[in-house]
Amino acid sequence: MRTASQSPATGAGCEPGFRGVICVSFATTDALQDHDTGGMPRHDLRFAAATPEAIANLRSVLGHSRVGVRVVLAGPPADVHAAASVAAECGLVDEEMTLVCDEVGPRVIFCGHCHTSTTTDHPIGTNVDCQGCGTTLIFTDHFSRRVGGYLGFSAHAEEAA
């Protein structure tokens, strides 16, 4: 069933009007190798990461797809969440999307103070420095599907002089 392998960071457009299963794999995941599409045609996309180019590519594929399509996203949480946010923006609802996140791997922390997103390998509940304002953030399990990340807020604000 699987279509010819894709070279990394490319996603050849599928046929216009596609209503099968779009399997999107990020980084090195092989979680979708044996994904059961229930007999529906399958279109594979593989990206090294959810870069702006990859996201534009996904948008274009979704723009050519039609209601009836299903999207499966697999890989590191940061990439899967970014792609899921874009898919939702393109009109996909929860029933049309399946997320297969790696158990470990980078996640996005949204700074509650300056709104910069920082990607980190640290686990939930630990600290990370915001790439925008430099504040040391405590990284909570409060998740936004639109942002594709978790809320972080100043870990030491109460102690600060």
Partner: protein
Amino acid sequence: MTGTALQNKAKPLLDGTLQLEVTSVSAQTDSITSITFGGALGELLPSYVPGSHLVVQYGTGANAYSLTGSGSAPTEYSISVLRIENGAGGSLAMHALCVGDLVQVSHPRSAFAPAATASHHLLIAAGIGITPVLSHARYAAEWGASASLIYVHRPGTGAHVAEARQLLGPGLTECLDRSSFQEVLTRQLTTQQLGTHLYVCGPNAFMDSVLKQARDLGWPKSLLHSEAFSGAALDDGEPFEVRLARSKVTLNVPAGVSLLGTLENAGLTVPNMCRKGICGECAVPVLRGEPLHRDLYLTDQEKDDNTTMMCCVSRSLGQELELDL
């Protein structure tokens, strides 16, 4: 003219009802008549969500009818009613209304709302099912939202055809027979951009068929919306027993008699309005047993919880139900 959307100026007679005057009556077709209600002073009536219905009282009964306007700051409420010769009498009572008659109506109630996030609204109507989707089409036109309509009607019997053509232009596909409809439907169900929502209104068998085909073609449930239009009768159902825990009595609910009717016959007062499972007034708490939910009011989750049921239309899956009454 001062708008007061929160508190309506039309004089409420009972809690939640308005007394309005028939301001115009016009024949759409041989069997469909449009009736317009307004306040005595032509004042602004409460706005409503597109696809809303109005419960209109007649004699001892009440029927729900879809409003055909967009719902934006209306001074009139318009419905279109198909005459059903051997129905419960509501449609005949509506057809007998004359300009100047006073009627009691509910506030508009929303149970078939457009999805704000839709990238496109695919409207599908058969016969008198045009009424709520016409409301949707007007709203889409007002806000510049993308919409198209497949309208199935027999030649010469379609209501609101001219308005539909004007509102939707090339977005309207009229089907005058079943086979051409099937062809159009299959094509449209397989060519919609992502984020399209489908809305269907018409006879039950028609809606069931459209919804089943959509699901078979991979449409997720949350993109599908349907409105059971008035006149669709539910079957008589199986008889069952209902135990009233607080009153400590057990009643038999025969086939063809509603639980609400049974409770009323036993002397209980249960608030109710539409008696069609739409308005939500007659909710009763369930202590034991599994209701056969047939209403359009409760959410799927509430139906699964089995702690509340609408006693006007819902019955029992098992032989016995226990209520907290």
